[in-house]
Symmetry: none
Subunit: 235 residues, 2 copies
């Protein structure tokens, strides 16, 4: 039985038994793509790692997808039991894979980064390069929106949070840089543009979208307006 013990989950919560502690493991569901082979989270560092069974990996993926949906609708305080139901699994299954809310939030967060980077890698072959960059910026803006909501709820886990944020930023840079270089090389984008400019732009339009009733639509419109201004001017 790979049930995480109560001691594994305790971290400074008063009253009832403390909530489960987020465990930084070398290979956790959050490290690998949910469907990819993954070692079990509870194995010690020196122990041989055995990948998750196929049904377990499927459940992890379903839980992350359900959590993303629930967090989008209700925020990161969404009911974990509800997430389990949406995923079609029992609460015990949710808690076996994600000992507490923070680990699930982290998993959704990193899955979002991975999806964003996968999208960026796919767009490396898309033509024209400037449209590929714009498509990726759109995905980046959507990601920023979810990042802001989930990032706040990772506040309680200071040690881990900085590491997560740094790693995701690195992933985004590795993905965005080639896309930007392609667009510059095509001559359609001003050559002085830097990736950090685009990341800040995505942040700005995501924040603007948070305040509006039709936030996603507004963010998209603002993004397209801003990108228009980034194009190399003909003549």
């Amino acid at each position: 039985m790979n049930q995480t013990s109560p001691a594994e989950r305790n971290q400074g919560k008063e009253g009832r038994a403390a909530p489960k502690e987020a465990k930084p493991n070398a290979a956790t569901p959050n490290e690998a793509k949910p469907e990819e082979v993954a070692a079990r989270p509870s194995a010690g560092e020196g122990e041989a790692r055995r990948p998750l069974r196929a049904d377990a990996a499927r459940n992890v993926a379903r839980l992350i997808a359900a959590a993303r949906e629930a967090f989008a609708e209700h925020g990161s305080d969404a009911s974990l039991d509800d997430i389990a139901r949406r995923a079609g699994v029992g609460p015990g299954t949710l808690y076996r894979h994600f000992p507490n809310r923070a680990t699930l939030v982290e998993a959704v967060y990193l899955d979002g980064v991975r999806t964003l980077c996968d999208e960026g890698n796919r767009l490396l072959d898309a033509e024209p390069p400037v449209d590929a960059l714009v498509d990726w910026l759109r995905a980046l803006t959507a990601y920023v929106t979810t990042k802001r909501g989930l990032g706040k709820s990772l506040l309680g886990s200071v040690d881990n949070r900085d590491q997560i944020f740094r790693r995701s930023h690195e992933m985004i840079e590795r993905t965005g840089a080639p896309l930007l270089d392609r667009a510059k090389a095509s001559g359609a984008i001003r050559p002085d543009l830097e990736l950090m400019d685009l990341i800040r732009l995505a942040n700005a339009v995501a924040i603007a979208g948070e305040q509006a009733p039709d936030g996603a639509e507004l963010s998209n419109r603002l993004l397209l307006l801003a990108v228009d201004g980034l194009r190399t001017r003909a003549g």
Copy 2:
């Protein structure tokens, strides 16, 4: 029976019945000092106001004190049942006086401002004037720390929050200005110093203290260092 109805408390919470809505009343427990005579919160504007009974006023005061303690230990998500227990009253009593968490947070918040201002008014007679000012700045820093924690949880009530923040800022200015003037008049403090400088200073050291394990001690040390720099230089 002055029980607030479910409709009075509802405000956009999914799942279960929505939580109680904070009711902005002309005279609520939050307006008056808890022990002071207060009209009942649920009375309409045009109705004659009858002060709370003595036992009711005592319970309000106990609830605010218990809430402050619980919020300091657990944050503004502290269990309301636990706060009622700490106050030695039933949950029904808590909900009769504070229909939802936000009203209780607001009461604790405003009570803190009132306490700060009372402290400032008491210090108007203290000698030397510069030490009186420093004592008040220490209290202001402690207040800012609690303000930041409680202020975040008032985010959900945008209309009321701005009003609360503005009112508390006015109270702080009315209290702090005479203390600063006295210290200036005594010649011990540089004459170009403004109250906003001191408020910003209190904010800065409070924020610094949030990140440290011995936060309160650090904030105090930083405050004293900074105040040293504000003194009029001899010679």
